[in-house]
């Protein structure tokens, strides 16, 4: 049985949601009025321009991959490699807890809560993760439980 590493909440990085970025994403994927302008958002309970929840989620993914690339470079410099990540079969309990307003900076985190061998894909394990976004006021705005395939390795390696 693999010894498990202590559960660690990893900081992935921060991202500031500009009005331009919010509107660009919303125009393509979520053109509801509270995601398109302050003037329109003011007529709703949101009050001012805020990001699509799917934009908030997509930026978590963006920062996760950027974090992995930095960790892979660090491993290479130390003469080792990270196990390959596979795709994800999906996620659960995604919560949009508070709006992400234009100008907000969200810091994202990921914690591996479980690792189990995949029965359907020999040579691969599935990581279960708890993922979060916190704004500049320290308020949690976003969270979800993710799953991702990771290549099985005989020696323990950092999961993230």
């Amino acid at each position: 049985m693999e010894t498990s590493a202590p559960v660690e909440r990893v900081e992935l990085g921060s991202f500031t949601f500009t009005a331009d970025d919010i509107v660009r994403f919303a125009r393509a994927y979520d053109p509801q009025r509270f995601h398109l302008s302050n003037e329109e958002a003011a007529k709703t309970h949101f009050g001012r321009l805020c990001a699509s929840g799917w934009h908030t989620a997509a930026v978590w993914m963006k920062l996760m991959i950027a974090h992995r690339k930095r960790e892979a470079a660090r491993a290479r410099a130390e003469g080792s490699t990270l196990p390959r990540l596979g795709p994800s079969p999906g996620f659960e309990n995604l919560k949009w807890i508070k709006p992400v307003y234009a100008g907000d900076t969200i810091t994202y985190f990921s914690t591996v809560v479980e690792r189990r061998e995949s029965r359907s894909k020999p040579g691969w394990a599935i990581l279960s993760t708890l993922n979060e976004g916190v704004n500049q006021h320290g308020e949690k705005v976003f969270s979800f439980e993710g799953r991702v395939f990771v290549e099985h390795r005989s020696e323990p390696a950092a999961a993230l």
């Binding site: 509801q32 795709p87 079969p89």
Partner: protein, 152 residues
Amino acid sequence: MTSLRTFEDFREGEVIDLGEKLVTREEIVAFAEEFDPQPFHLDEKAGKASMLGGLAASGWHTNAMLMRQLCDNLLLHATCMGSPGVDSVRWLKPVRPGDRLKMSAEVKETRTLKSRPDMGVVRFLMTVANQKGEPVLLQENAILFGRREKAE
């Protein structure tokens, strides 16, 4: 002026057609470059070497495309007040360049809120299927809609 669909206009068991979306290679790569730059979402050769068996859209991109179809075919014609989140999403099969995705939303439950007389909750099971009729994405989530008396 056509009136907006309100909370009262949803019926359990109703299936709402969300239309069809043609997925292009350009859009797959553009989304992946910005939000999910893993090799199997950017490049056919890397895709073939992976579990996905070829270039495939980011799951988050498929969700974003579903959201756009949901807006165009339902939310922009309704008193939508946002959503608290998503209970589950399953990414069942790869979404390839050239796929024509048919999308639909089945109303599973409608529920009033004692604490908020101006809105109700509608829970959906949304399905995205490809041109072979294979489900590629299943999503369960709740969306808040304003009630008729308060509709603008």
